[in-house]
């Protein structure tokens, strides 16, 4: 099944996962690229997005699997036609004939901006580094089975901190994104919880790249 690499930036970050599927279904239609449909009681156009993302997160490494009907069309043309039919902020970067098996998707490289309106507090960088050097940092994780406590440290493969500008600290992380999954915003939750005096005025997150278990770029 063909796979598209796309980015989600600007206002498009506010489109939810389910809505984004609909946006793609309609974009394929507008682009004159007929999708195959699932079999069954309620046939649906076959598109799926590898890693569902929270509303408000920006990404440069999203994967969309899809399946087209009819005569083969070159990947370059699919890419070009889709981009002409997509909403602002969603852009297909490349189309591949086939993708690697999703079960091999393992790590996500991400950035979390911590914005301090009155300037970065002194010692913030050191203290936050110290926090994530601990063996156990427990935050609440909500899922459909309720709320449970979870130690996030084992899911952080690497983490660096650097100042972005005079008001922003940036966390550069490599975290698990499948079995188990760490939502990068949990890094921020941990700071709020363990270092409340360093709670930022605002935090936002970007997905940068995804990797398999050998840390090779995943496509």
């Amino acid at each position: 099944m063909p796979r598209a690499l796309f980015e989600k930036t600007g206002n498009a970050i506010w489109i939810s996962h389910l809505d984004l599927m609909r946006v793609f279904q309609r974009s394929f239609k507008r682009a004159g690229l007929p999708l195959t449909h699932t079999q069954g009681f309620n046939p649906r156009p076959s598109v799926s997005i590898a890693l569902p993302m929270s509303v408000g997160v920006e990404s440069r490494c999203e994967l969309l699997d899809f399946d087209l009907e009819g005569d083969p069309i070159s990947n370059e043309e699919i890419c070009e036609r889709l981009n002409r039919a997509l909403v602002e902020g969603v852009r297909v970067l490349r189309v591949y004939d086939d993708g690697a098996k999703l079960k091999h998707l393992c790590y996500l490289s991400c950035e979390v901006d911590l914005e301090y309106d009155n300037g970065i507090p002194e010692q913030a960088q050191a203290e936050i580094s110290g926090l994530f050097a601990r063996e156990e940092v427990t935050v609440e994780k909500k899922n459909k089975n309720g709320v449970r406590q979870e130690n996030i440290i084992p899911m952080i493969k690497r983490l660096e901190i650097s100042p972005g500008d005079s008001n922003t600290l940036v966390l550069h992380g490599l975290v698990c994104c499948q079995n188990p999954t760490l939502n990068p915003m949990q890094l921020c939750t941990a700071i709020d919880l363990y270092l409340p005096e360093l709670k930022p005025d605002f935090a936002r997150c970007r997905r940068m790249e995804i990797y398999d278990e050998t840390e090779t770029v995943f496509r």
């Binding site: 600007g10 206002n11 498009a12 506010w14 489109i15 939810s16 389910l18 809505d19 984004l20 609909r22 946006v23 279904q25 309609r26 974009s27 394929f28 239609k29 507008r30 007929p34 449909h37 009681f41 309620n42 046939p43 156009p45 509303v55 408000g56 039919a85 997509l86 909403v87 602002e88 902020g89 901006d113 914005e115 309106d117 008001n167 922003t168 605002f202 936002r204």
Partner: protein
Amino acid sequence: MTELKQRILPMVQKPARYTGGEWGEVKKDLSGIRVRVAFCFPDTYEIGMSNVGMRILYGVMNRMEGVWCERVFAPWGDMEEQMRQHQLPLWALESQDPVKDFDMIAFSIGYEMAYSNILNMLDLSGVPLHSADRHDLKNIVFAGGVCAFNPEPLADFIDFFSLGEGEDITVEIVSLYDQAKAEGWSKDAFLHAVAKIPGVYVPSFYRHEYNPDGTLSAIVPLEGAPKKVTKRIIEDLDSAYFPTDMIVPSTEIVHDRANLEVFRGCIRGCRFCQAGFSCRPVRKKSPEVLYRQAVEILENSGNNEITVSSLSTSDYRGLKELTDQLIPYCADHKINLSVPSLRADNFSRELMQKLQTVRKSGLTFAPEAGTQRLRDVINKNLTEDEILTTCANAFSGGWNNVKLYFMLGLPTETDEDVLGIAELVYKVIQTWKECASNKKRGLRVHVATAYFVPKPHTPFQWEKQITPQEYLRRCRLLKDHFYSKSIEYDYHSPDLSRLEAVFARGDRRLGPVIEAAVKSGARLDGWDEYFNYAKWYAAFRECGVDEDFYTTRGYGEEEILPWDTIDVGTGKRFLKLERKRAYEGKVTPDCRHGCAGCGASNLLKEVACDA
């Protein structure tokens, strides 16, 4: 650093409704723009984006050179809270600029329960609520939509109303504004000029005087204003603008599909129905034009669903021709075609079978009344036989779901009529027992009763609304006569319909009530999550206005009515005659079986009424 709005968005539900950026939105270069219009829909994005009228006028205005029309919707409560906390004024989606920066602020009003949203949106924009407090040409506020057919409750707040169908008149209004702005006219000079456009009603040019008993004693036109303002219509729908390059929302809305309007007006004359009388005369669109527009709209939007819309769609003469073309196209392109508002006739039954793709949607009837006698009174020409035959066919075809809609409190209604509803439902259940091909899943009959609201410009515009207590008594009476487990009975609390009745036939004395209610937090009244009658009750008491005057009192036939200035085509004499026939239990045949002489065809200059 992230700007304020972007910081707020993660904290609210469904943020995509506040950002714009959808497929098909119109963006323009401000350097070439002379008139900016903030087109406000006084409800949420999901409701407003489903509105065909709004889509048409958005296109109409944006086709004008030098004009940029942008969309504005009412924020949900969580967003409003953030906006007020951070003093962030209401913005338009396309440019994200504050509404108060716009030249014209337009509202499309289709429902009385949106009145509080209008005031709240002006307030959130930082624009003075009262027309009299807005002194400049800038921020001129005008409104259209069905509610403009009795605009009086909003007379204090709206500078002028645009009556009827907006395709032509909106262009005339905005062009005149363009000239006024270029030439530096005062607001007053503009209002005098705009009042000369047929279909424009400027409430400040009329003085309403009252008798000691509270009824109107006179409506005095001032400054040369016309005694009557007649609504505008489009005569030739085939050549009228229709947007085939619709905005496609990136987040789910209520009617998330393409919408094809097939004709305007209605040939039925259900005596309670405002649309039926005020949207006349009947004008058709040809199936060829509709098919072309359907294909264009589907190709441009990428929608996988299209609905055909109008009042009483079965009465569209070209329905067979249109669906014969559309059904194969939709099948080829995996598009769902839906045709709601079908009558229970033979052709419709065939059509329903043809449309039946995978999903079996339920079967819906609106008999409105339980007995033939009362259906004759309201001129709802749907017989028990038609309902039961259609049910029998549907049940034998595998349907197990029926929805039945009724009204309680219709003129002349007795307990016998109320119990007639239970009897009709019982017969539907019997029919299922006799005809159902698949009884495994059981039958579900969903019954809903609404509280009758008398509306202006209908034969029932003078009627009393029954009291809320009496309405509830009738609901309980009915409920006590539903024995079957298959029945699911819904009735709404009467408060909302009572308020709707007040505003529907309201006058200018309601302006302060709306303002007081909004000040105390009334908004989003169409939403159960927000509607709070206590706030309205307090506002009525505060302003010394009695709801009963507008509801249970009833209006005298000789009384001057607040909406007498507005002419929608159907004359008062005709409405009186229809009312008389209602009380005699006489039906009036639909317009195709003989013109009843409602008068609406006088609005036509170029074509004949297509009824």
